[in-house]
């Protein structure tokens, strides 16, 4: 039960939110009215990088504020620093405002009026985010949480522009003049860790720990550095020393525990209060996994980001593309035996660096899957559309297609929102810096001639809430896909597709307007009732994650991932702990699929955040079909550490075993990980894989619904890319447990056509063409040479 303080806070927050929104709207209206009088063009969402600096006043004020914040965080609190501070502020002003194009006297005269309004709207939007943050973490935790997030947001710009050397030089020069400044030494030590120079980092941190005020933090960081350097004994020593000064620090206890696992257990000198047990992830699994990435040639080491699984050349086998935050994409062709060849070089995708989320879709219905790729996510980037040439190469057609987008883009989806048989494109945008404004989401309508027209405004999809996750699914079964937006720091939103190219925000009516750190999301029918439910993954605070690891479930105030259960009347009921979803994880990527072939949809969560001192396992949750999800992660053979991006599931060898694919790695160059592929050790049950080919519908059949009847019950599937992070294959995987016969498979195509296949085969992969009777086996004429161990 919420206490009186919570209730009061909630009510006053609602009032404050309404007030801030009204102020923001009024100031924005005034600013744009002044702009019209001054003859300014209305601002348009950017589609190319602002190489000369921000091009609009609103972007400039945001950029300047971000620069000031960064200067404030890195300038030492010393009288001697005043001169360099003033120089930095002046330089920041030039960089932020130097790119503005002010054409004539009228526009110069408008500037003194527009400038305060621009700062005003920025302040309003920041106030809104602060209010939302206070609601999620609790007002009492704001002081602790804000620096944690600021650390990341003020650092990203330095990392992506490779300016860490300059940053280290600044720290070193300062320390040469003020060697006793342990605050700066702590920053230097942390910077070394970010670069992977762990021993250098530890040396500075131990030095900084001589300051009693920094003792525990510096030694805790040194424990992280030593763990990452492979000095597990030293990591435990530093961790134990840190815990003596700060006994309640679960993060340090977890690193000590991880180091102890490497040594086969805690050394004797570790006191009882420094020890923990990891209770999460121990539930008995229905399937166990083995890691096979190296064996099948997918062991890409990198700052792994998105994954997309699709048949790139029409040979029937599933191929993979993996993106990377630092370097380029890699393209892997399936050799036909469940192993992969790296065919990146010369494909065109190798030129695509700093990439993030990948969306697969045949936008020109030529039978070849094309790729749309966003860049960097939490930093602005230039998204790109690659047309598949069918010969292993891809051509950048972003400009001629008219789908350029410069922004902090996260998820992107191909969707035929008007059901005209051609895929349209949706790009969800977040915000990139602490003081950034919400970058508009983009909806591009397919003109059916290889070009697109942006329709975001007229579609009614404008929102102030920064978007991370987006998911398209027809929740009311009216034939048109609706849109859910998951906000990283704002309200969740549900937009109903009116079927005429416009959308209506139905969030409050539907009961989906919760404030949370919303992550990626997807639609699926978890309870197989024929009505799509909504899965929203949540990014949780580190302390809630540690609580979950240690105790097996999250704290009472924590926000676990949730399923919005479809009530079949346009409303939803939020379910989490009621379904056994009681763990809090920092979920960055995730997807749904029946990996244990028992006929129920399970989840894979890729977790973590950019901080070097945060490592977090990927999690798998099995559904028991009886209203409960169970965390089986470690019992099923998955590891304790990670930073999971692009979580994906696919039957890579075409043998019914749904593999878990996780492209891992952090934001910093010192946080490299290798892509993992976890494959079921044995075939956990019978199965059927189904691929659809649209003829009147879009060729990928995105949006199609499938119903499989077997053993007296039905299973329902939606053809979609899942959460997009990663982009699921459009092949639909049905687990059948021990059933050896299927009564029927029904397909509802996006065109409206219903198609029924009587008694489809079992334990195979079939292809069904829209409007054509029967089905064909995909691998019939070219059976897979199963990889070693497949027959077990």
């Amino acid at each position: 039960m919420p206490n009186l303080f919570d209730s009061m806070f909630h009510i006053s927050s609602r009032i404050a939110e309404a007030g801030i929104l009204a102020m923001n709207s009024a100031m924005a209206t005034m600013q744009s009215a002044i702009g019209r009088v001054a003859g300014q063009d209305p601002p348009r969402p950017p589609d190319k990088p602002p190489l000369n600096g921000p091009a609009t006043l609103d972007d400039a004020t945001a950029d300047f504020s971000n620069r000031l914040l960064r200067i404030g965080r890195t300038t030492q609190n010393k009288p001697e620093a005043v001169q360099s501070l003033l120089r930095s502020v002046l330089d920041a002003f030039n960089k932020s405002f130097g790119g503005l194009e002010i054409r004539d006297l009228r526009q110069w005269m408008a500037l003194p009026f527009q400038l305060p309004l621009s700062f005003g709207t920025l302040l309003a939007q920041q106030s809104l985010r602060a209010l939302y943050t206070a609601q999620v973490v609790g007002p009492q935790n704001l002081a602790h949480f804000a620096p944690y997030m600021l650390d990341t947001f003020t650092d990203i710009h330095v990392v992506v522009s490779l300016q860490y050397k300059e940053q280290i030089q600044i720290y070193r020069e300062h320390l040469s003049r003020f060697p006793e400044d342990s605050d700066t030494r702590l920053l230097l030590g942390k910077e070394y860790i970010k670069l992977g120079l762990y021993l250098e980092g530890s040396r500075e941190l131990v030095e900084a720990a001589r300051n009693p005020a920094l003792h525990s933090e510096a030694l805790s960081e040194s424990a992280v550095a030593n763990y990452r350097a492979g000095n597990f004994n030293r990591a435990i020593e530093d961790g134990v020393a840190a815990l003596e000064a700060l006994p309640g620090d679960d993060r340090t206890r977890y690193w000590v525990w991880l180091a102890a696992q490497k040594l086969g257990g805690y050394p004797d000198f570790v006191p009882e209060n420094a020890r923990i047990e990891v209770r999460a992830g121990r539930h008995r699994p229905k399937v166990e996994f083995q890691e096979v990435a190296t064996k099948i040639g997918l062991d890409k080491t990198s700052a792994g980001r998105g994954t997309a699984i699709f048949d790139m050349d029409g040979d029937g086998y599933l191929d993979i593309v993996i993106s990377s935050g630092h370097g380029g994409c890699n393209l892997y062709r399936n050799n036909g035996d469940g192993t992969f060849a790296d065919v990146t070089v010369g494909s065109g995708l190798d030129e695509c660096v700093n990439t993030f989320i990948i969306a697969v879709g045949d936008y020109n219905n030529d039978g070849l899957d094309d790729l749309y790729i966003t860049r960097l996510g939490f930093y602005v980037g230039e998204s790109v559309l690659y047309r598949n040439n069918g010969d292993g190469t891809f051509t950048d057609v972003t400009k001629e297609a008219g789908v350029g987008c410069w922004g902090p883009s996260f998820t992107c989806h191909w969707v035929d929102y008007d059901c005209d048989g051609f895929l349209d494109l949706f790009v969800a945008n977040n915000f990139a810096g602490v003081f950034d404004r919400k970058n508009p989401n983009r909806l591009f309508h397919n003109n059916k001639d290889g070009t697109f027209t942006e329709v975001s405004e007229q579609a009614g999809l404008s929102t102030l809430h920064p978007t991370i996750g987006s998911a398209w699914g027809d929740y009311d079964n009216d034939g048109y896909p609706d849109l859910f937006l998951s906000s990283g720091l704002g309200r969740s939103q549900l937009f109903h597709n009116n079927g005429d190219g416009t959308f209506t925000d139905v969030s409050r009516k539907a009961g989906i307007d919760d404030i949370c750190f919303g992550g990626i999301s997807l639609w699926c029918d978890y309870d197989n009732d024929g009505w799509l439910d909504l899965v929203q993954f949540i990014w949780s605070l580190e302390e809630d994650v540690l609580h979950t690891l240690i105790h097996g479930d999250g704290p009472a105030q924590g926000k676990p991932m949730r399923i919005y259960h479809n009530n079949r009347d346009g409303t939803f009921t939020k379910l989490d702990r009621e379904l056994g979803l009681n763990g809090c994880w920092g979920t960055m990527s995730g997807n749904a699929g029946d990996f244990n072939n028992d006929g129920y949809i399970d989840f894979l969560l890729g977790n973590g955040d950019p901080h070097m001192n945060r490592t977090e396992p990927s999690i798998i949750l099995e559904y028991d079909g009886d209203g409960n999800y169970h965390n089986v992660t470690f019992a099923a053979g998955l590891p304790y550490t990670g930073k999971g991006h692009g979580a994906n599931m696919a039957d890579l060898a075409g043998d019914g075993r749904l593999c878990l694919i996780i492209s891992s790695g952090g934001a910093y160059p010192g946080d490299l990980l290798t892509t993992s592929v976890f494959r079921p050790k044995v075939l956990p049950g019978n199965y059927l894989n189904v691929r659809l080919v649209g003829t009147r519908s879009n060729r990928n059949a995105i949006g199609a619904r499938l119903k499989l009847d077997a053993g007296g019950r039905s299973q329902h599937r939606l053809v979609s890319s899942g959460s997009a992070f990663g982009c699921l294959p459009y092949e639909q995987h049905f687990g059948l447990a021990d059933l050896s016969q299927i009564e029927a498979l029904e397909i509802l195509w996006p065109s409206g056509l219903r198609q029924r296949i009587e008694r489809p085969p079992v334990n195979t992969t079939i292809r069904i063409v829209e409007g054509r009777a029967g089905c064909e086996e995909v691998y019939k004429n070219k059976p897979l040479q199963l990889i070693a161990g497949n027959q077990s």
Binding site: H157, L162, G196, K300, S324, G327, G328, D342, N354
Partner: protein, 144 residues
Amino acid sequence: MVFWSETCSHCIRYDVYLNSFSDSHPEISLVAVASRQGENLGQIRATVAARNLRFPIFHDSGGSVARQWFTQQTPRAFLIDMERRLLYRGAIDNFKYPQDPEYGAYLEPAIEAYLAGRPIERKETASFGCAVESVYYILPKALA
């Protein structure tokens, strides 16, 4: 031939390996190519002095060699025989941290197999590291 950058933090981890390469492999010549956008000779010379680098470095101003060699990130290694045939292309190893149980060298086994006259088992791997060219290098910088 190793594409390399004086700024790349991943390359720093290979300073010892590359410095000792000519001693450990006297029969193979090594050349590093610095192609990163905006990287100039003065910066490279300063880094060579500061990190005491002892292997030859060519400056690929403008990055045309990297483009011709399909190289988008540093470090990226190419092993080429006397007849200019490509024997191996990709990462030097999968180094993430010292004593990594998953550690695997890629370039060294290729060299060993080549010198022993055996077929090279793994001829291509994904590279990882810093981008050679990126729009982020030419946007206004966060630091002065």
